[in-house]
Amino acid sequence: MTTAEILDWIAVILLLLGALLSFAAGVGLVRFPDLLSRLHTAAKPQILGLVLISVGLGLRLFPDSRIGILFLVVLFQILTVPVASHIAGRVAYRTGRIRRDLIGVDELEEQLDRH
């Protein structure tokens, strides 16, 4: 086995793990009961899945100089996905689109009551 083949195998296994995370997010979207738990499962392929895919793709394309774009993709995704998820969760909480009976501890409500 040459070095290139070993790199290819590592790349394929990383891509497989990224695809598995996407699949898990799809299953979680269908199975989980409310928006907050779906937010939890939807974040997995958006960050970790994308990092795995980018590393796998970078290993596959290694000598090419254009793989620098992959760093930009991961950087933008890491900067933007938490903001988008936070806004979606906050709007869902404030407009009552969540299931209160599924929340064990609601620290935000205590904070809101204090003011």
Binding site: S22, G26, V30, L35, A42, L50, L61, F76, A84, V91
Partner: protein
């Protein structure tokens, strides 16, 4: 190794199908926006897998565009929901 590529494709197809099921069922508009986000993540993964399979770096800018578009779409949907809810609250207050 060919089997692993097929498995990757099947997993991504199933993930997209499940996201589309939530897109159709989703009780609120926020659920649908989240389903679109996951669909977009599956699309990014799929395009990445395509580029890795063919060793084709020309599709990499598409990944960049998709990564930025997902943020814009989900934030605009959330802001729209928040503003509409505020409008409903104010109209109820006027009636009372």
């Amino acid at each position: 190794m060919t089997y692993l590529w097929i498995v990757i494709g099947v997993l991504l197809g199933l993930a997209s199908l499940f996201s589309m099921a939530r897109l159709l069922l989703g009780p609120t508009i926020l659920d649908r926006a989240l389903a679109v986000d996951v669909l977009l993540a599956s699309a990014i993964t799929g395009i990445g897998a395509y580029a890795a399979f063919h060793r084709d770096p020309t599709v990499l800018p598409i990944l960049l565009v998709l990564a930025l578009l997902g943020f814009v779409s989900s934030v605009s949907v959330s802001r729209f929901v928040a503003r509409r809810q505020r409008g409903i609250d104010e109209s109820e207050r006027v009636e009372l």
